[in-house]
Protein backbone atom coordinates (compact mmCIF):
# COMPACT_ATOMS: atom_id res chain seq x y z
CA UNK A 1 0.00 0.00 0.00
CA UNK A 2 1.41 3.37 -0.97
CA UNK A 3 1.60 6.04 1.70
CA UNK A 4 -0.25 9.27 1.07
CA UNK A 5 1.24 11.14 3.98
CA UNK A 6 4.50 10.16 5.53
CA UNK A 7 6.49 11.79 8.28
CA UNK A 8 10.10 11.03 8.91
CA UNK A 9 11.59 11.76 12.34
CA UNK A 10 9.37 14.78 12.69
CA UNK A 11 10.37 16.94 15.67
CA UNK A 12 9.72 20.43 16.89
CA UNK A 13 11.31 22.16 19.84
CA UNK A 14 10.06 25.29 21.57
CA UNK A 15 12.89 26.67 23.64
CA UNK A 16 14.06 23.61 25.54
CA UNK A 17 10.77 21.75 25.32
CA UNK A 18 10.39 19.13 22.62
CA UNK A 19 6.69 19.10 21.82
CA UNK A 20 6.89 16.50 19.09
CA UNK A 21 9.79 14.08 19.26
CA UNK A 22 10.92 12.07 16.20
CA UNK A 23 7.50 10.91 15.09
CA UNK A 24 7.55 8.73 11.99
CA UNK A 25 4.23 7.56 10.66
CA UNK A 26 2.72 6.78 7.33
CA UNK A 27 -0.90 7.09 6.38
CA UNK A 28 -2.06 5.07 3.37
CA UNK A 29 -4.56 6.45 0.89
CA UNK A 30 -8.25 6.36 1.92
CA UNK A 31 -7.27 5.45 5.43
CA UNK A 32 -8.90 6.58 8.66
CA UNK A 33 -6.33 7.27 11.32
CA UNK A 34 -7.02 8.55 14.80
CA UNK A 35 -4.55 10.24 17.10
CA UNK A 36 -5.11 9.90 20.80
CA UNK A 37 -3.10 10.94 23.80
CA UNK A 38 -3.43 12.84 27.05
CA UNK A 39 -3.52 16.62 27.19
CA UNK A 40 -0.23 18.17 26.19
CA UNK A 41 0.91 15.08 24.34
CA UNK A 42 1.58 17.14 21.21
CA UNK A 43 -1.39 16.09 19.13
CA UNK A 44 -2.36 19.54 17.91
CA UNK A 45 1.28 20.50 17.46
CA UNK A 46 1.69 17.44 15.28
CA UNK A 47 -1.31 18.61 13.25
CA UNK A 48 0.15 22.08 12.95
CA UNK A 49 3.26 20.51 11.48
CA UNK A 50 1.21 18.51 8.98
CA UNK A 51 -0.86 21.52 7.89
CA UNK A 52 2.07 23.94 7.81
CA UNK A 53 1.17 26.31 10.66
CA UNK A 54 4.47 25.31 12.23
CA UNK A 55 7.79 24.40 10.65
CA UNK A 56 9.55 21.37 12.13
CA UNK A 57 12.96 21.82 13.67
CA UNK A 58 13.87 18.44 12.30
CA UNK A 59 12.45 15.79 10.04
CA UNK A 60 10.50 15.71 6.80
CA UNK A 61 6.90 15.45 5.69
CA UNK A 62 6.03 13.74 2.43
CA UNK A 63 2.76 13.94 0.57
CA UNK A 64 2.42 11.47 -2.28
CA UNK A 65 6.14 10.94 -2.02
CA UNK A 66 6.82 14.64 -2.47
CA UNK A 67 8.67 16.59 0.19
CA UNK A 68 6.26 19.27 1.43
CA UNK A 69 8.12 20.25 4.58
CA UNK A 70 8.74 23.75 3.23
CA UNK A 71 5.22 24.33 1.87
CA UNK A 72 3.15 27.19 3.29
CA UNK A 73 -0.32 26.41 4.70
CA UNK A 74 -1.84 27.90 1.55
CA UNK A 75 0.10 25.59 -0.73
CA UNK A 76 -0.61 22.54 1.39
CA UNK A 77 -4.33 23.23 1.17
CA UNK A 78 -4.01 23.58 -2.57
CA UNK A 79 -2.02 20.36 -2.74
CA UNK A 80 -4.83 18.57 -0.94
CA UNK A 81 -4.38 18.72 2.81
CA UNK A 82 -7.23 20.54 4.49
CA UNK A 83 -7.69 20.94 8.20
CA UNK A 84 -10.15 22.03 10.82
CA UNK A 85 -9.09 23.75 13.98
CA UNK A 86 -9.67 22.77 17.57
CA UNK A 87 -9.98 26.35 18.70
CA UNK A 88 -12.85 27.66 16.67
CA UNK A 89 -11.37 29.49 13.76
CA UNK A 90 -13.99 31.03 11.50
CA UNK A 91 -14.66 34.49 10.04
CA UNK A 92 -16.66 36.06 12.90
CA UNK A 93 -18.29 39.02 11.17
CA UNK A 94 -19.27 37.26 7.97
CA UNK A 95 -22.45 35.27 7.56
CA UNK A 96 -22.38 31.52 7.96
CA UNK A 97 -23.10 31.08 4.28
CA UNK A 98 -20.29 33.44 3.31
CA UNK A 99 -17.86 31.52 5.50
CA UNK A 100 -18.51 28.36 3.54
CA UNK A 101 -18.88 30.16 0.23
CA UNK A 102 -15.30 31.42 0.55
CA UNK A 103 -14.11 27.85 0.94
CA UNK A 104 -16.12 26.78 -2.11
CA UNK A 105 -14.69 29.71 -4.06
CA UNK A 106 -11.18 28.63 -3.14
CA UNK A 107 -11.92 25.07 -4.12
CA UNK A 108 -13.22 26.23 -7.50
CA UNK A 109 -10.00 28.16 -8.04
CA UNK A 110 -11.69 31.56 -8.44
CA UNK A 111 -9.12 33.61 -6.63
CA UNK A 112 -8.33 36.84 -8.41
CA UNK A 113 -11.55 37.59 -10.22
CA UNK A 114 -12.33 41.25 -9.51
CA UNK A 115 -14.54 42.35 -12.38
CA UNK A 116 -17.71 40.45 -11.67
CA UNK A 117 -20.05 40.55 -8.73
CA UNK A 118 -19.60 37.52 -6.49
CA UNK A 119 -23.29 36.72 -6.87
CA UNK A 120 -22.59 35.93 -10.51
CA UNK A 121 -21.23 32.63 -9.24
CA UNK A 122 -24.55 31.37 -7.96
CA UNK A 123 -23.32 27.80 -7.98
CA UNK A 124 -20.94 28.65 -5.14
CA UNK A 125 -23.76 29.67 -2.85
CA UNK A 126 -25.78 26.62 -3.75
CA UNK A 127 -22.81 24.40 -3.11
CA UNK A 128 -22.13 26.16 0.18
CA UNK A 129 -25.75 25.62 1.19
CA UNK A 130 -25.41 21.92 0.46
CA UNK A 131 -22.44 21.68 2.80
CA UNK A 132 -24.36 23.57 5.46
CA UNK A 133 -27.26 21.14 5.08
CA UNK A 134 -24.87 18.26 5.58
CA UNK A 135 -23.78 19.60 8.96
CA UNK A 136 -27.35 20.66 9.82
CA UNK A 137 -26.61 24.35 9.85
CA UNK A 138 -28.62 25.54 6.85
CA UNK A 139 -31.24 27.29 8.98
CA UNK A 140 -28.52 29.59 10.33
CA UNK A 141 -27.08 30.55 6.97
CA UNK A 142 -27.79 34.26 7.34
CA UNK A 143 -26.59 34.78 10.89
CA UNK A 144 -23.15 36.13 11.59
CA UNK A 145 -20.69 33.43 12.52
CA UNK A 146 -19.90 35.29 15.75
CA UNK A 147 -23.52 34.84 16.89
CA UNK A 148 -23.41 31.05 16.65
CA UNK A 149 -23.28 28.83 19.69
CA UNK A 150 -20.03 27.02 20.26
CA UNK A 151 -21.21 23.70 18.87
CA UNK A 152 -22.59 25.42 15.80
CA UNK A 153 -19.26 27.09 15.18
CA UNK A 154 -17.65 23.66 15.27
CA UNK A 155 -20.12 22.47 12.67
CA UNK A 156 -19.37 25.50 10.52
CA UNK A 157 -15.69 24.76 10.86
CA UNK A 158 -16.28 21.25 9.54
CA UNK A 159 -18.46 22.49 6.69
CA UNK A 160 -15.65 24.84 5.64
CA UNK A 161 -13.16 22.01 5.66
CA UNK A 162 -15.45 19.74 3.66
CA UNK A 163 -16.12 22.48 1.14
CA UNK A 164 -12.44 22.55 0.28
CA UNK A 165 -12.87 18.97 -0.95
CA UNK A 166 -9.29 18.14 -0.17
CA UNK A 167 -7.94 14.65 -0.44
CA UNK A 168 -6.83 14.63 3.18
CA UNK A 169 -8.97 15.85 6.04
CA UNK A 170 -7.21 16.73 9.26
CA UNK A 171 -9.87 16.98 11.96
CA UNK A 172 -8.72 18.44 15.25
CA UNK A 173 -11.21 17.32 17.92
CA UNK A 174 -14.30 18.02 15.86
CA UNK A 175 -16.64 17.41 18.79
CA UNK A 176 -14.69 19.33 21.43
CA UNK A 177 -16.93 21.59 23.45
CA UNK A 178 -20.10 20.32 21.86
CA UNK A 179 -23.12 19.44 23.90
CA UNK A 180 -23.86 15.72 24.08
CA UNK A 181 -26.93 16.02 21.84
CA UNK A 182 -24.84 17.63 19.11
CA UNK A 183 -22.13 14.99 18.98
CA UNK A 184 -24.08 12.27 17.13
CA UNK A 185 -24.86 14.63 14.23
CA UNK A 186 -21.17 15.36 13.75
CA UNK A 187 -20.27 11.70 14.07
CA UNK A 188 -22.89 11.03 11.43
CA UNK A 189 -21.17 13.49 9.10
CA UNK A 190 -17.78 11.92 9.68
CA UNK A 191 -19.19 8.44 9.12
CA UNK A 192 -20.81 9.62 5.90
CA UNK A 193 -17.48 10.86 4.59
CA UNK A 194 -15.82 7.64 5.60
CA UNK A 195 -18.48 5.57 3.85
CA UNK A 196 -18.01 7.56 0.65
CA UNK A 197 -14.51 6.15 0.83
CA UNK A 198 -12.68 8.73 -1.24
CA UNK A 199 -10.97 10.68 1.52
CA UNK A 200 -8.07 10.11 3.82
CA UNK A 201 -8.92 11.23 7.33
CA UNK A 202 -6.70 11.94 10.28
CA UNK A 203 -8.60 12.68 13.44
CA UNK A 204 -7.60 13.88 16.88
CA UNK A 205 -10.07 12.84 19.50
CA UNK A 206 -10.46 12.45 23.24
CA UNK A 207 -13.56 10.32 23.18
CA UNK A 208 -12.13 6.82 22.80
CA UNK A 209 -15.45 5.06 22.28
CA UNK A 210 -16.26 7.35 19.41
CA UNK A 211 -13.17 6.58 17.36
CA UNK A 212 -12.63 2.90 17.97
CA UNK A 213 -15.26 1.63 15.56
CA UNK A 214 -14.46 4.31 12.96
CA UNK A 215 -10.70 4.07 12.79
CA UNK A 216 -8.62 1.82 10.58
CA UNK A 217 -5.68 2.58 12.79
CA UNK A 218 -4.93 4.50 15.97
CA UNK A 219 -1.70 6.16 16.98
CA UNK A 220 -0.96 7.18 20.55
CA UNK A 221 1.15 10.20 21.36
CA UNK A 222 2.62 10.63 24.82
CA UNK A 223 4.91 13.50 25.80
CA UNK A 224 5.61 14.15 22.16
CA UNK A 225 6.72 10.65 21.31
CA UNK A 226 4.89 8.01 19.34
CA UNK A 227 3.92 5.42 21.94
CA UNK A 228 2.09 3.01 19.70
CA UNK A 229 0.57 2.78 16.25
CA UNK A 230 -1.75 -0.02 15.18
CA UNK A 231 -5.29 -1.22 14.72
CA UNK A 232 -7.80 -0.20 17.40
CA UNK A 233 -7.73 -3.72 18.84
CA UNK A 234 -3.96 -3.74 19.13
CA UNK A 235 -4.00 -0.37 20.83
CA UNK A 236 -6.64 -1.48 23.32
CA UNK A 237 -4.51 -4.49 24.24
CA UNK A 238 -1.23 -2.59 24.36
CA UNK A 239 -0.03 -2.46 27.94
CA UNK A 240 2.13 0.65 27.65
CA UNK A 241 -0.82 2.50 26.24
CA UNK A 242 -3.06 1.27 28.99
CA UNK A 243 -0.76 2.46 31.72
CA UNK A 244 0.02 5.75 30.05
CA UNK A 245 -3.34 6.78 28.84
CA UNK A 246 -6.20 4.36 29.11
CA UNK A 247 -5.24 3.30 32.60
CA UNK A 248 -5.56 6.75 34.01
CA UNK A 249 -8.69 7.22 32.01
CA UNK A 250 -10.52 4.16 33.26
CA UNK A 251 -9.91 4.69 36.95
Amino acid sequence: MSALIETNDLSITFGGHTAVDSVSISVPEKHFKSIIGPNGAGKTTFFNLLSGQLTPTQGKIYYRGKDITKFSPTNRTRAGIGRSFQITNVFPNLTVLENVRLAVQSQAGIRYQMLFHYKKYRAFEEKALEWLKLVLLDDKKNSLASNLAHGEKRKLEIAMLLALETEVLLLDEPTAGMSLEEVPAILEVIKKIKVQGNRTIVLIEHKMDMILDLSDSVMVLFNGTLLADGTPEEIMKNETVQSAYLGGHNN
Binding site: T74, T77, G82, L102, Q113, Y118, M160
Partner: protein, 324 residues
Protein backbone atom coordinates in the same frame (compact mmCIF):
# COMPACT_ATOMS: atom_id res chain seq x y z
CA UNK B 1 -32.30 53.86 0.16
CA UNK B 2 -31.59 53.95 -3.57
CA UNK B 3 -34.25 56.65 -3.92
CA UNK B 4 -32.50 58.84 -1.35
CA UNK B 5 -29.17 58.40 -3.10
CA UNK B 6 -30.67 59.30 -6.48
CA UNK B 7 -32.42 62.39 -5.09
CA UNK B 8 -29.22 63.61 -3.45
CA UNK B 9 -27.28 62.93 -6.65
CA UNK B 10 -29.81 64.83 -8.77
CA UNK B 11 -29.75 67.70 -6.30
CA UNK B 12 -25.96 67.90 -6.36
CA UNK B 13 -25.94 67.67 -10.15
CA UNK B 14 -28.35 70.57 -10.59
CA UNK B 15 -27.02 72.70 -7.75
CA UNK B 16 -24.40 74.70 -9.69
CA UNK B 17 -27.02 75.72 -12.28
CA UNK B 18 -29.63 77.00 -9.85
CA UNK B 19 -27.65 78.27 -6.90
CA UNK B 20 -24.75 80.57 -7.58
CA UNK B 21 -22.50 80.41 -4.58
CA UNK B 22 -18.88 80.05 -5.43
CA UNK B 23 -17.96 79.16 -1.88
CA UNK B 24 -20.45 76.35 -1.59
CA UNK B 25 -19.35 74.99 -4.94
CA UNK B 26 -15.72 74.96 -3.87
CA UNK B 27 -16.64 73.37 -0.55
CA UNK B 28 -18.63 70.63 -2.24
CA UNK B 29 -15.80 70.03 -4.70
CA UNK B 30 -13.56 69.56 -1.69
CA UNK B 31 -16.07 67.10 -0.22
CA UNK B 32 -16.02 65.06 -3.43
CA UNK B 33 -12.22 65.00 -3.50
CA UNK B 34 -11.97 63.87 0.10
CA UNK B 35 -14.75 61.34 -0.42
CA UNK B 36 -12.56 59.67 -3.01
CA UNK B 37 -9.63 59.79 -0.65
CA UNK B 38 -11.63 58.46 2.30
CA UNK B 39 -13.12 55.65 0.20
CA UNK B 40 -9.65 54.60 -0.91
CA UNK B 41 -8.58 54.57 2.73
CA UNK B 42 -11.63 52.59 3.72
CA UNK B 43 -10.66 49.87 1.26
CA UNK B 44 -7.58 49.30 3.41
CA UNK B 45 -8.96 49.95 6.87
CA UNK B 46 -12.55 48.82 6.57
CA UNK B 47 -12.39 46.03 4.02
CA UNK B 48 -8.93 44.51 4.32
CA UNK B 49 -8.19 45.44 7.92
CA UNK B 50 -4.86 47.10 7.16
CA UNK B 51 -4.08 50.14 9.29
CA UNK B 52 -1.94 52.61 7.40
CA UNK B 53 -0.74 55.94 8.76
CA UNK B 54 0.91 56.95 5.54
CA UNK B 55 -1.98 57.27 3.15
CA UNK B 56 -1.10 60.93 2.59
CA UNK B 57 1.91 59.88 0.53
CA UNK B 58 -0.26 58.70 -2.35
CA UNK B 59 -2.39 61.83 -2.09
CA UNK B 60 0.75 63.94 -2.17
CA UNK B 61 2.27 62.06 -5.10
CA UNK B 62 -0.88 62.77 -7.10
CA UNK B 63 -0.96 66.44 -6.12
CA UNK B 64 2.71 67.03 -6.88
CA UNK B 65 2.65 65.10 -10.16
CA UNK B 66 -0.16 67.29 -11.41
CA UNK B 67 1.41 70.48 -10.10
CA UNK B 68 4.81 69.77 -11.58
CA UNK B 69 3.42 68.81 -14.98
CA UNK B 70 1.28 71.93 -15.15
CA UNK B 71 4.13 74.17 -14.01
CA UNK B 72 6.90 72.69 -16.14
CA UNK B 73 4.90 72.17 -19.30
CA UNK B 74 1.85 73.79 -20.82
CA UNK B 75 -1.43 73.50 -18.90
CA UNK B 76 -3.12 71.55 -21.65
CA UNK B 77 -5.37 68.52 -21.52
CA UNK B 78 -2.59 66.42 -23.05
CA UNK B 79 -0.23 67.14 -20.18
CA UNK B 80 -3.09 66.73 -17.76
CA UNK B 81 -3.60 63.18 -18.99
CA UNK B 82 0.13 62.58 -18.87
CA UNK B 83 0.16 63.73 -15.25
CA UNK B 84 -2.71 61.37 -14.45
CA UNK B 85 -0.80 58.53 -16.07
CA UNK B 86 2.38 59.40 -14.17
CA UNK B 87 0.44 59.46 -10.92
CA UNK B 88 -1.07 56.06 -11.60
CA UNK B 89 2.33 54.59 -12.41
CA UNK B 90 4.13 56.08 -9.41
CA UNK B 91 1.38 55.45 -6.86
CA UNK B 92 0.90 51.97 -8.29
CA UNK B 93 4.59 51.22 -7.91
CA UNK B 94 4.95 52.71 -4.42
CA UNK B 95 1.79 51.05 -3.12
CA UNK B 96 2.98 47.74 -4.56
CA UNK B 97 6.20 48.03 -2.56
CA UNK B 98 4.34 49.12 0.55
CA UNK B 99 1.93 46.22 0.06
CA UNK B 100 4.87 43.82 -0.13
CA UNK B 101 5.94 44.96 3.30
CA UNK B 102 2.70 43.69 4.86
CA UNK B 103 4.28 40.26 4.43
CA UNK B 104 6.65 40.67 7.33
CA UNK B 105 5.13 43.51 9.30
CA UNK B 106 1.96 42.99 11.24
CA UNK B 107 -0.54 45.63 12.38
CA UNK B 108 1.15 48.42 14.33
CA UNK B 109 4.60 47.75 12.92
CA UNK B 110 3.17 48.21 9.48
CA UNK B 111 1.35 51.37 10.57
CA UNK B 112 4.59 52.84 11.91
CA UNK B 113 6.43 51.95 8.75
CA UNK B 114 3.88 53.66 6.52
CA UNK B 115 4.07 56.68 8.79
CA UNK B 116 7.82 56.95 8.33
CA UNK B 117 7.59 56.31 4.59
CA UNK B 118 5.17 59.16 4.11
CA UNK B 119 7.51 61.25 6.28
CA UNK B 120 10.21 60.41 3.79
CA UNK B 121 8.11 61.80 0.95
CA UNK B 122 7.47 64.93 3.00
CA UNK B 123 11.20 65.47 3.41
CA UNK B 124 11.74 64.77 -0.28
CA UNK B 125 9.19 67.43 -1.20
CA UNK B 126 10.87 69.89 1.15
CA UNK B 127 14.41 69.30 -0.01
CA UNK B 128 14.10 68.74 -3.73
CA UNK B 129 13.71 72.46 -4.23
CA UNK B 130 14.42 72.55 -7.96
CA UNK B 131 11.35 70.47 -8.58
CA UNK B 132 9.03 71.28 -5.69
CA UNK B 133 10.05 74.81 -4.62
CA UNK B 134 10.40 73.52 -1.08
CA UNK B 135 8.08 74.27 1.80
CA UNK B 136 6.28 77.20 0.19
CA UNK B 137 5.12 75.20 -2.76
CA UNK B 138 4.06 76.83 -5.99
CA UNK B 139 1.00 77.92 -7.90
CA UNK B 140 0.28 76.71 -11.38
CA UNK B 141 -2.22 77.20 -14.18
CA UNK B 142 -4.75 74.50 -14.95
CA UNK B 143 -6.17 73.35 -18.29
CA UNK B 144 -8.77 75.75 -19.64
CA UNK B 145 -11.56 73.26 -19.21
CA UNK B 146 -11.11 73.22 -15.44
CA UNK B 147 -10.85 76.96 -14.94
CA UNK B 148 -14.62 77.10 -14.83
CA UNK B 149 -15.55 76.04 -11.29
CA UNK B 150 -18.80 74.42 -12.42
CA UNK B 151 -17.00 72.20 -14.91
CA UNK B 152 -14.52 71.13 -12.31
CA UNK B 153 -17.28 70.55 -9.76
CA UNK B 154 -19.01 68.23 -12.21
CA UNK B 155 -15.74 66.46 -13.02
CA UNK B 156 -15.06 65.77 -9.35
CA UNK B 157 -18.59 64.53 -8.85
CA UNK B 158 -18.36 62.20 -11.83
CA UNK B 159 -15.01 60.86 -10.67
CA UNK B 160 -16.37 60.32 -7.16
CA UNK B 161 -19.38 58.38 -8.45
CA UNK B 162 -17.09 56.37 -10.73
CA UNK B 163 -14.72 55.54 -7.86
CA UNK B 164 -17.69 54.61 -5.70
CA UNK B 165 -19.02 52.23 -8.35
CA UNK B 166 -15.59 50.76 -9.07
CA UNK B 167 -14.93 50.13 -5.39
CA UNK B 168 -18.40 48.73 -4.85
CA UNK B 169 -17.81 46.21 -7.59
CA UNK B 170 -14.27 45.57 -6.42
CA UNK B 171 -15.29 44.86 -2.84
CA UNK B 172 -18.14 42.62 -3.96
CA UNK B 173 -16.07 40.63 -6.42
CA UNK B 174 -14.77 37.21 -5.45
CA UNK B 175 -11.43 38.90 -4.79
CA UNK B 176 -13.05 41.57 -2.64
CA UNK B 177 -14.82 38.94 -0.56
CA UNK B 178 -11.47 37.36 0.18
CA UNK B 179 -10.21 40.76 1.35
CA UNK B 180 -12.99 40.83 3.92
CA UNK B 181 -12.11 37.31 4.97
CA UNK B 182 -8.53 38.50 5.54
CA UNK B 183 -9.86 41.32 7.72
CA UNK B 184 -11.76 38.77 9.78
CA UNK B 185 -9.14 36.06 10.12
CA UNK B 186 -5.93 36.13 8.18
CA UNK B 187 -4.63 32.75 9.25
CA UNK B 188 -7.86 31.02 8.34
CA UNK B 189 -7.92 32.66 4.92
CA UNK B 190 -4.48 31.22 4.38
CA UNK B 191 -5.54 27.71 5.29
CA UNK B 192 -8.49 28.01 2.92
CA UNK B 193 -5.91 28.13 0.16
CA UNK B 194 -5.69 31.85 -0.58
CA UNK B 195 -2.31 33.60 -0.86
CA UNK B 196 -3.02 36.40 1.58
CA UNK B 197 -0.13 38.57 0.43
CA UNK B 198 -1.41 38.77 -3.15
CA UNK B 199 -4.72 40.10 -1.89
CA UNK B 200 -3.15 42.64 0.41
CA UNK B 201 -1.03 43.92 -2.46
CA UNK B 202 -4.08 44.15 -4.71
CA UNK B 203 -5.92 46.18 -2.06
CA UNK B 204 -2.88 48.34 -1.44
CA UNK B 205 -2.37 49.16 -5.12
CA UNK B 206 -6.05 49.86 -5.73
CA UNK B 207 -6.20 52.09 -2.69
CA UNK B 208 -2.93 53.87 -3.49
CA UNK B 209 -3.88 54.69 -7.07
CA UNK B 210 -7.30 56.03 -6.07
CA UNK B 211 -5.72 58.15 -3.35
CA UNK B 212 -3.38 59.53 -6.00
CA UNK B 213 -6.35 60.49 -8.14
CA UNK B 214 -7.87 62.30 -5.17
CA UNK B 215 -4.57 64.16 -4.82
CA UNK B 216 -4.67 65.21 -8.47
CA UNK B 217 -8.12 66.68 -8.09
CA UNK B 218 -7.14 68.39 -4.85
CA UNK B 219 -4.17 70.10 -6.50
CA UNK B 220 -6.31 71.30 -9.41
CA UNK B 221 -8.99 72.64 -7.11
CA UNK B 222 -6.43 74.79 -5.27
CA UNK B 223 -4.23 75.48 -8.33
CA UNK B 224 -1.49 75.35 -5.77
CA UNK B 225 0.52 72.63 -4.11
CA UNK B 226 2.85 72.64 -1.11
CA UNK B 227 4.26 70.11 1.32
CA UNK B 228 1.08 70.06 3.41
CA UNK B 229 -0.33 67.43 1.02
CA UNK B 230 2.16 64.97 2.50
CA UNK B 231 1.35 65.94 6.09
CA UNK B 232 0.05 63.56 8.72
CA UNK B 233 -3.13 65.67 8.91
CA UNK B 234 -4.25 64.40 5.55
CA UNK B 235 -4.04 60.79 6.68
CA UNK B 236 -5.75 61.65 9.96
CA UNK B 237 -8.57 63.35 8.08
CA UNK B 238 -9.10 60.20 6.04
CA UNK B 239 -9.06 58.12 9.22
CA UNK B 240 -11.55 60.42 10.91
CA UNK B 241 -13.85 60.51 7.89
CA UNK B 242 -13.90 56.73 7.57
CA UNK B 243 -14.46 56.13 11.26
CA UNK B 244 -17.19 58.76 11.66
CA UNK B 245 -18.96 57.64 8.51
CA UNK B 246 -18.66 53.97 9.28
CA UNK B 247 -15.75 51.65 8.70
CA UNK B 248 -16.29 49.10 5.96
CA UNK B 249 -19.02 51.02 4.16
CA UNK B 250 -18.27 53.13 1.10
CA UNK B 251 -21.26 55.40 1.66
CA UNK B 252 -19.95 55.98 5.16
CA UNK B 253 -16.69 57.33 3.77
CA UNK B 254 -18.61 59.83 1.62
CA UNK B 255 -20.84 60.94 4.49
CA UNK B 256 -17.83 61.22 6.77
CA UNK B 257 -15.97 63.33 4.21
CA UNK B 258 -19.00 65.62 3.88
CA UNK B 259 -19.37 66.04 7.62
CA UNK B 260 -15.72 66.71 8.28
CA UNK B 261 -15.35 69.19 5.43
CA UNK B 262 -18.48 71.12 6.38
CA UNK B 263 -17.59 71.05 10.08
CA UNK B 264 -14.13 72.32 9.23
CA UNK B 265 -15.62 75.12 7.14
CA UNK B 266 -18.13 76.23 9.75
CA UNK B 267 -15.72 76.06 12.62
CA UNK B 268 -13.27 78.29 10.75
CA UNK B 269 -16.09 80.73 10.07
CA UNK B 270 -16.96 80.76 13.76
CA UNK B 271 -13.40 81.85 14.46
CA UNK B 272 -14.66 85.38 13.77
CA UNK B 273 -16.94 85.06 16.79
CA UNK B 274 -14.53 83.53 19.26
CA UNK B 275 -10.85 82.76 19.04
CA UNK B 276 -11.31 79.19 20.35
CA UNK B 277 -12.77 78.17 16.99
CA UNK B 278 -9.49 78.93 15.30
CA UNK B 279 -8.27 75.83 17.06
CA UNK B 280 -10.86 73.70 15.30
CA UNK B 281 -8.59 70.70 15.62
CA UNK B 282 -9.54 70.58 19.34
CA UNK B 283 -13.15 70.00 18.36
CA UNK B 284 -12.18 67.31 15.92
CA UNK B 285 -10.31 65.60 18.69
CA UNK B 286 -13.40 65.67 20.91
CA UNK B 287 -15.66 64.41 18.12
CA UNK B 288 -13.18 61.66 17.41
CA UNK B 289 -13.13 60.46 21.02
CA UNK B 290 -16.92 60.60 21.31
CA UNK B 291 -17.46 58.67 18.10
CA UNK B 292 -15.01 55.94 18.99
CA UNK B 293 -16.59 55.63 22.45
CA UNK B 294 -20.25 55.73 21.54
CA UNK B 295 -20.56 54.93 17.84
CA UNK B 296 -17.63 52.66 17.09
CA UNK B 297 -19.40 51.54 13.95
CA UNK B 298 -19.84 55.07 12.65
CA UNK B 299 -22.97 56.73 11.31
CA UNK B 300 -23.79 54.24 8.60
CA UNK B 301 -22.94 51.22 10.73
CA UNK B 302 -25.08 52.44 13.62
CA UNK B 303 -28.00 53.35 11.37
CA UNK B 304 -27.99 50.05 9.58
CA UNK B 305 -27.86 48.07 12.81
CA UNK B 306 -30.84 50.08 14.14
CA UNK B 307 -32.88 49.45 11.00
CA UNK B 308 -31.88 45.80 11.14
CA UNK B 309 -33.10 45.51 14.74
CA UNK B 310 -36.37 47.18 13.79
CA UNK B 311 -36.89 44.75 10.97
CA UNK B 312 -36.25 41.90 13.32
CA UNK B 313 -38.71 43.22 15.88
CA UNK B 314 -41.21 43.77 13.14
CA UNK B 315 -40.93 40.23 11.84
CA UNK B 316 -41.02 38.89 15.40
CA UNK B 317 -44.27 40.76 16.00
CA UNK B 318 -45.66 39.38 12.78
CA UNK B 319 -44.80 35.87 13.79
CA UNK B 320 -46.34 36.49 17.20
CA UNK B 321 -49.54 37.62 15.56
CA UNK B 322 -49.61 34.59 13.32
CA UNK B 323 -49.06 32.34 16.29
CA UNK B 324 -51.73 34.17 18.29
Amino acid sequence: MTAIVLIVAAFLLLLPFVYESRNLLILLTQVFVFSIFAMSYDLLLGFTGIVSFGHAMFFGIGAYSMGIFMKRFEPTLGYFLLAVLTTIVITGFVSFLVGLLTLRLKSHFYAMLTLSLSGLFLVLAEKWRTLTYGNDGFTFRVPELFIDRTNFYLLCMVVMVAVFLILKRFTNSPLGRVLQAIRENEQRTESLGFHVLHYKIAASVMSGVLAGIAGILYAISLRFVNTSVFAMDITLDALLMTIIGGVGTLVGAIIGAGLIEFAHHWLTELAKEHWIFERWIIFFGIIYILVVMFFPRGIVGTLSSISWKRKKQHSAKKEGKLAG
